[in-house]
Subunit: 222 residues, 2 copies
DNA sequence: GGGAACATACCGACCGGTCGGTACGGCGTC
DNA sequence: GACGCCGTACCGACCGGTCGGTATGTTCCC
């Protein structure tokens, strides 16, 4: 067999990654408990033997999937081009714009793996809970410097900290995913991001928001 | 055995309600799929025969539990005394104060049943999803008149509707529950409610918020 | 006495996990 | 450079237990 030829699928050595990708897809759609090991194996195109060769238990796969999710999504946001803005507020709004773009596709495609998993596992699996916590709050930490710089540049009301704002951003997104799953409509995500954007702008650029204004920026429906 | 004496628990005739209460407790702690019918029966102190006498399937119990949750929590908010405020903004802030008070207890005691269930069931069970949607958005509808009156009295930026604000309030709460489960700390709920309160105040009473002020209202930690 | 409200025993499917075995690639040896 | 060797990756049949659901009583109340 050739060493680096193109068309050969080279299946061997990829079972772990295929299982992690399958886990991200299936768990987001069905939840952790409803996703069986056999489901994951058939979705990944591997056998049960391969599964338990790479992961000691199903719980261990869930932990690894959370880390995998953290790495892949972290890479996505780290490479985004909204970081180019000079004003930290523009970077924050650019982040929210990116979150809007990322709502393309079906519900199970744009919602968050760890937000789904932690609701099921927070009380039953300390390892999964900790992995989800690390992912969510790690992402908040990633966003924190932008808020810190925005506060030092534009000021902020008493009690408003960069960390708290970064976490609140994740709160709004996770909550929006819950309501999107309940309604089957992505519009609620876009609406809540819009409210969050308005809150941030009011905090750091209060002149831009005019109460009872007639500015034609209504993109949300209803 | 006496017919209607006081200390007798009068167990007969209450299996359905006991099962619904058990479902609220167990599903919030373990999730829907991880909660078995046997778990529910032993928690409720009834047998499997009673379970399937009252509910055709486990899914039917989940739907009924969502409705039961809707009724009991709806009663709680309908009877709350924040409705006495004359200014609709005060009623909204009073609602948020009540949500803060309701975070007493453990995580599984203050989090939301339907927010937990819908994450697992939105794709697999249309009936459960619809029941959760009705509960969440029904509660938003309950809150909507306050925002409508606040807008008509105080004005609002373009694109800000009463329904969207009521839904956004539920978004923040549901998201806060997700992060509270991930961190095991209720503080994130209080912090996000504080941000939401600040957003609402900025919308309807902008003079109250002073950027870079030194007002000593810092109740959140960190 | 008849029907609603339970209780008890049980079933078949399924699920997480095990285990003996196989395919493959690299590496030292002569 | 062919060969033997070994460790890793992977296979798939199988097992013990669990789960949702059923069938068949039994009890209570009108």
């Amino acid at each position: 067999m050739t060493t680096a030829s193109a068309p050969a699928p080279a299946r061997r050595g990829r079972a772990r990654l295929r299982l992690l990708d399958a886990a991200v897809d299936l768990i987001r759609a069905r939840g952790l408990h409803a996703t069986t090991v056999d489901d994951l194996c058939s979705e990944a195109g591997v056998t049960k033997g391969a599964f338990f060769h790479h992961f000691e238990t199903k719980e261990a796969l869930a932990v690894a999937a959370a880390q995998h999710w953290h790495e892949t999504t972290g890479e996505l946001f780290a490479n985004a081009d909204y970081h180019a803005h000079a004003d930290p507020l523009d970077r924050i709004l650019g982040y929210l714009d990116l979150r809007v773009v990322l709502t393309e596709g079906t519900t199970e495609e744009y919602t968050c793996l760890v937000g789904t998993m932690v609701q099921e596992a927070y009380a039953s699996s300390p390892a999964v809970r900790a992995a989800c916590e690390a992912t969510i709050f790690g992402h908040a930490t990633f966003l924190e410097p932008e808020f810190r710089e925005a506060i030092s540049r534009h000021g902020a009301p008493a009690g408003v900290t960069a960390r708290s704002l970064a976490i609140h951003t994740q709160t709004v997104l996770q909550g929006a995913f819950v309501l999107a799953k309940a309604s089957g409509d992505v519009a609620v995500v876009l609406d809540s991001i819009e409210h969050l954007r308005r809150y941030v702008e009011q905090l750091f650029r209060p002149a831009a928001i005019t109460t009872t204004a007639t500015t034609t920026t209504a993109t949300t429906k209803e």
